[in-house]
């Protein structure tokens, strides 16, 4: 149960909201480089934190992200002409550079200085290893984006995809740190061997805050009665998760990026620290087959090319007969299974009606941390630095799974594996 006012605080992320303020403390993955491949190429529409934006790659290869609407009379710059390191509104010819300065105003006399008063909202951009990051906050000295391993390894070692989910970011992310749903929702999709290896479906849960977020551990009874099987998830502020599988498996991470109050862009990364990704990593039955593969035809809505084919209007491609005859939800694939449950909760879930169990302690802990930090940042005099925002190097971590004697502490064992060293994979023992 969450009070209505707290649910509002948690879920509203537009400009001027407290949670929107928290999110603006951090870099945000905005686009894949492949979405904006060519200098002077076609602009791209996107929506982030409730703001309609346009991105363009200038002749010099650098990317600009600015408000979608021209400050003259509000026409969309998506239709604008991208040339010579700026975007020109095709309505009356006003041109903006990457910093949002109006650099040309051809429907005013050449000597007019009107354009000097015009500044379009523009955001700082950093492009790294296939991702275009945006910083929508106020810091002029913001360090570079977080050192997430999946954004640092060579391209062939990572698979990176996006999918649009029509539900509020918090409920989508809470699905990402709800480690118990996999035993049920993904049964029949993930191999039975995986569930056998994991063990019981009702582990003991432990949570420990970290500088970048929290480690969320699930303790399963191992086959050896003298040992426990620990699976350690990562939550990284403000909206990243990492899922453990152990062995030589690639690692999974998600970024749950709020588009607006009622939709979320789910970024999925699977990567291996030392080898290229293989086709088998994404095959049916694989526990890391988390990438949406089939999408709808794009519409005039920003980001619509990332809307999966399965949706509420077609029951998420549900196979009702298979649901009756197999241990299987009937919905094909992990991404659609997750989306179906998260969207079915309503665009913004009313948490006054929920009943949380022991498996939801991590959700509750993370939710309370968001609320506390959002309030602290909003109520502070002046700018308050939030955990992790200025420590990109602290994000170089992994999830992990291991079996250890019962008397050992998982917190100590995890320290051997969670700190990622690029090019090195100390595979935990899980047999």
């Amino acid at each position: 149960v969450l009070k209505a006012e707290d649910n509002e605080l948690l879920t509203r992320i537009g400009p001027g909201t407290k949670m929107g303020g928290l999110l603006r403390h951090y870099w945000i993955p905005a686009l894949l480089t492949e979405e904006l491949p060519d200098p002077d190429g076609r602009p791209v529409r996107l929506r982030l934190l409730g703001e309609d934006l346009v991105a363009f790659r200038g002749a010099d290869g650098q990317v600009g992200i600015v408000s979608e609407y021209c400050l003259h009379r509000g026409a969309s710059l998506y239709y604008g002409k991208n040339s010579e390191c700026g975007i020109r509104c095709v309505y009356h010819g006003w041109k903006y550079d990457r910093q949002g300065n109006c650099v040309d105003m051809p429907n005013e006399p050449p000597t007019s200085r009107f354009k000097e008063k015009i500044h379009l909202r523009a955001y700082r951009v950093h492009e790294r290893n296939g991702i275009i990051w945006a910083y929508m906050g106020p810091r002029s000295d913001m360090p570079e984006p977080p050192h997430l391993e999946w954004n640092l390894v060579p391209e062939e070692q990572v698979t990176l995809t996006k999918r649009l989910t029509r539900a509020n970011w918090a409920q989508v992310l809470e699905g990402g740190i709800d480690s118990s749903h996999g035993h049920f929702l993904h049964r029949g999709t993930v191999s039975e061997e995986t569930f056998t290896a994991i063990g019981d479906s009702h582990p003991i849960y432990e949570v420990m805050d970290t500088e970048y977020g929290a480690m969320l551990a699930a303790r399963h009874d191992g086959r050896d009665p003298a040992k426990y099987f620990w699976r350690v998830y990562q939550f990284l502020l403000p909206f990243y998760t990492m899922v453990p599988f152990g062995g030589d498996s690639p690692i999974i991470s998600h970024a749950f990026v709020p588009r607006d109050d009622t939709s979320t862009m789910v970024w999925s990364a699977t990567w291996h620290p030392t080898r290229p990704m293989r086709a088998a990593d994404h095959a049916d039955g694989s526990s890391v087959a988390v990438h949406a593969e089939e999408f709808r035809a794009p519409t005039d809505e920003a980001d619509s090319r990332w809307a999966p084919k399965g949706g509420r209007d077609n029951d998420y491609l549900m196979d009702w007969d298979r649901q009756l005859t197999t241990p299987y939800s009937g919905i094909p694939g992990i991404p659609l299974q997750d989306a179906a449950m998260q969207e079915s909760m309503g665009a913004i879930y009313d948490r006054r009606t929920e009943h949380l169990g022991m498996a939801d302690a991590a959700i509750l802990k993370v939710r309370r941390r968001w609320l506390a930090l959002a309030r602290a940042a909003a109520e502070a005099e002046g700018y308050t630095e939030l955990p992790g925002e200025a420590s990109p190097e602290r994000y170089l971590v992994r999830s992990c799974a291991f079996i250890i004697p019962r008397e050992l502490l998982w917190t100590e064992q995890a320290q051997k594996y969670v700190d990622a060293r690029l090019g090195v994979y100390d595979i935990p023992v899980i047999s």
């Binding site: 432990e206 970290t210 940042a377 955990p387």
Partner: protein, 132 residues
Amino acid sequence: VIEQRLRPGKSVTVRDVLCYPFVLRSQSVETDGGVWFRKVSYPELGCEVSRESLEEALDELESEKIQAILRQLPGIEFILEREPIPDPSIELQLDRLGATDLIPHLDDELQVYLASQPVGRGPMRERSGRHE
């Protein structure tokens, strides 16, 4: 010893101890009467709360955590082996938990704070938690 282990060259403050990342455990337990409860605990501090509602249990546990820390302050260094987590919301949380008298002392050195507390008061005193 505690200063060297946590932050070499720097003293440990009351804030450091309150921002120490203790492990939270969550499980379901059955009582003798066959009723199931949600039990949450900070095993390293030896405090636990069982309630039907997870939220109520965690609310009460967070209050109990502050009390447990205060009770154990004089000898707490033996369990402090991790870096404290900077928490800009700690003042708001103490206010919510009814421990506002700690706020002015957050940046006091631990040993100075302990020495300033009258015997039988201060860190050893029981506090009543306040919940929203």
